[in-house]
Amino acid sequence: MSSAPIADLSYRNYDGALESPNKLWWVIARQILRVSLKKRILWVMSFLAGSYFAIMMAIFFFTERMSQSTAPMMTGSNMPAMNPLQQLMDRIIWKDQFVHGISMGQMWFLIMSLVVGVGTIANDNRANALLVYLSKPCDKKDYLLGKWMGVFLTLLIGMSIPSLFFYAYGILSYRDYGFFTGDKLLLFKLLFLLVTNAAIYASLAIGISSLFNQGRLAGATMAAVYFLSNFFTQAMSGAWMAFQDDGNATAKGIVSKLFYGSVDGLNIGLAKSTLATSGSPPFGIPDRMEQVPAPPFLAAFAIIIIVSMLSMLIAWKRVRAVEVVG
Amino acid sequence: MIELQNASRWYGQVIGLNDVTCKIEPGVTALLGVNGAGKTTLMRLITGQMMPTTGSITVCGIEPFCNPEVFRKIGYCPDIDNFYEHLSGRQFVEAMARMSGFDAAESKTRTQEMMVKVGMAERCDKIILGYSKGMRQRIKLAQAMLHEPDIILLDEPLNGLDPIGRRELMDLLNILAKQGKTILVSSHILFEVEQMTRNILLLHRGRLLASGDLRVIRELIDKHPHRIRIQTDRPRDVAEKLVALPYVQSVHLDARGNAIELRTKSPAEFYEELPKLCLDHGLPIEGISSPDNNLESVFRYLVGE
């Protein structure tokens, strides 16, 4: 055939191998990763989410440098003791840094989800893309799983980089200050938190996305859900401060639970309970306000799971697989 | 009935219609042209939704722009598909009837009549959201005919109808045409149009390329000689005789060996000569046809490849 001078460019059928249609969800997820990992704004948001860590790294770096070049304090017993800067370094509760980092990263995580996740199914609805998916050996399960995994993995990558970078820096530089010994399982707990964060944002994004025909409306709705719940949390925060001085115990207890009743709140709550800390004032700046105690772990975890599953249930119901033709 | 005199209409720099002069008489006239040729613009001018930028257009002697008198005479069945989806077909048409000025009782009776006429009598009480394309077309047609207009304009009316629906609609239009109404149908589907009428208006890029009877137009297309196909099992013998005729421009032997195709600018002369071939020279002729004597070919010749 290749010896003929004029090539036959008419239609050729494809008789090559076709993979078994069992890993289609990965094809869909891969496509989402391909597109979203190229978006610059994802990386900008990732960096901004790590701004707390960046600032703290700078503070710790300079504090440590200066503490080493300051002369040790002389006490009466003639034993060199730590100078005030070193004492500062010693007092740092490392796991709280992660709580703050995650807490301050929440809004940037939201924006990441708006950019990467909330348009997926909405745009498909507008373009009638389901018709294409379902005419191939793909069904609703593959479609939703693929979409979810694509968004989840993208968010996970974006969210993890600042925290993991800080962890790596910490484990290399601040061993002496109890970075590792403070909590040996810190890395695994951190990974657990990152996965749950990514999961809940991905689920919400996909669930809300499936309700709309336009990415913009879906995005606006998700932002609205986030900020309205955040508003509620702010109100609870105000109540907490009010109850600081005079409140009775039950009221204080209720408020301390409701404090976590928002999208970001759930994540912060889970962070606190996983890392078993109530948090400390961020940036080490003393604050007369008592920190809200961590919620019970199982409750926090269960609520996150439930919210995620409800969102995906909405998506499952909304994606109508039936009318492939006509 | 409808008369255009040098009518032009443009939108900014985009031309809709360019210097169109024509008359649309009672009966069925087909409005043809590719997408963007100006068909919808023409319809909008006739229904008075727009004014021509230059030139004039009159419907029964009156200018249609914003003229309720003229609206009474026209029924328009557009190709857009926007309805109040939560209403039933019957409710929708009744609402249209009320808007045309009929009182409640009259609206009801007219609606019922129309529903029967368009074949929706059993199905019109379901809401429009669930309607198929064909059912929507029928509702559109019903509301266009409510006030018994003399002129009916239909933009792609056969779109989405199954063959039965198509036949029914074409029969209905034929009946209306016989009653003396002026019907203008715009369509892409040439073989359907051909079954309805031989009277065409062909637009291309805003200009009127041809108007009138299809056959007459075909005769006048000088650039493309007529193709006549002769089915015979002795093609070469027939060809020999044909080549001798002075007005036969070319003879083409079909690859399958059972037909020949000739081109001539004087088909009439050829048809006179044809019996001689068969009877005097004894050549067997199994079929005679003219492959490009149809609307599709005329369209292609005039609009160009």
């Binding site: 239609y11 076709l18 993979e19 373009a127 191939k136 793909c138 | 590719v34 002729i285 005679i288």
Partner: protein, 307 residues
């Protein structure tokens, strides 16, 4: 071509609530190019969904390329390419990316999918526009890209739903030529569902007619169009009763007349009958312009079949 039939449906009943879409339906879909005809709501759409492996059968079943329609939906869809009637595409991609992704969804390795996407787009006439976003395409181009995404994975059966929808005459011509060249020269099986019967006549050899959820008729188009006794149609330049009288004297019977078109029945082969026509014409000064063995149009055959 293999002798395994494309699809075989037996006694299939499909219901949506109380509405029976397909009623004890059985059909053997032959190889080659098949037209699917039927009024709206007759069950054509349901039949297509069935072939794609999407239905919930109340009774009966069937196979497509040997795979069970109730269990092997995915395997079936790997072998079928569907060109849907409605507009559809994956948002935010260029034509090449879209078609390649469609190929990947069908199971092609990514590199093969991209390579073949270029090939298929070229073949469908979208060579120039392939790097443009699909959302900027005109109607004709959208139809072609739907065809391209149906062909990308080299299906054994192509399902076309109203392939010439919304196309102007030239576009329609191009699409029909394209489909015909793929199917007839490359031996790809095709099922075309359309209301435009001349389109079906152009591309297909067989038809399956579905009415009211049941199989009304099926067979070769050629056979459906034949008329008993082979009458002949004659068209004159103008109507001529004298011509009719003359030809009747020569032994023909007038069956129908409409203006200047006549349908007659006469013994003998077509060339013998044409001789009679010419003789009558010569005697009476009429001019014969068209002569052919009468055939029903597919549209008439269909309308008769569903009465």
């Amino acid at each position: 071509m293999s002798s395994v039939s494309v699809a075989s449906i037996q006694n299939l009943t499909v219901r949506y609530g109380r509405f029976t879409a397909l009623d004890n339906f059985s059909v053997e879909v032959p190889n080659g190019c098949v037209g699917l005809l039927g009024p709206n709501g007759a069950g054509k759409t349901t039949l297509i969904k069935t072939l794609l492996g999407f239905i919930d059968a109340a009774a009966g079943g069937g196979t497509v390329f040997g795979h069970d329609i109730k269990k092997d939906g995915r395997l079936i869809r790997q072998k079928i390419g569907l060109m849907p009637e409605q507009d559809c595409h994956i948002p935010g991609m260029s034509a090449v990316q879209f078609v390649a992704f469609a190929g990947e969804l069908a199971g092609m390795p990514a590199a093969q999918a991209l390579r073949r996407a270029h090939e298929v787009l070229e073949y469908c006439g979208l060579g120039e526009a392939r790097y443009r976003n699909v959302e900027t395409y005109s109607t004709g181009m959208k139809q072609r890209i739907k065809l391209a995404q149906a062909l990308i994975h080299g299906p054994k059966l192509l399902l076309l739903d109203e392939p010439t929808n919304g196309l102007d005459p030239q576009g329609r011509e191009d699409m029909l030529e394209l489909v015909r060249s793929i199917t007839h020269e490359k031996e790809l099986n095709v099922i075309v569902s359309s209301h435009l019967l001349p389109d079906i006549e152009r591309i297909c050899d067989h038809v399956i007619v579905v009415v009211g959820g049941k199989l009304r008729t099926e067979g070769l188009i050629r056979d459906l169009k034949k008329i008993e006794g082979h009458p002949c149609d004659i068209e004159l330049r103008e109507a001529s009763p004298a011509f009719v009288a003359a030809i009747e004297t020569l032994g023909a019977t007038l069956l129908e007349s409409k203006g200047y078109r006549y349908r007659i029945q006469a013994p003998g082969t077509p060339d013998q009958v044409s001789k009679l026509a010419f003789q009558a014409a010569r005697q009476t000064g009429a001019q014969v312009r068209e002569f052919s063995v009468a055939e029903r149009s597919l549209e008439d055959a269909f309308l008769e079949a569903i009465r």
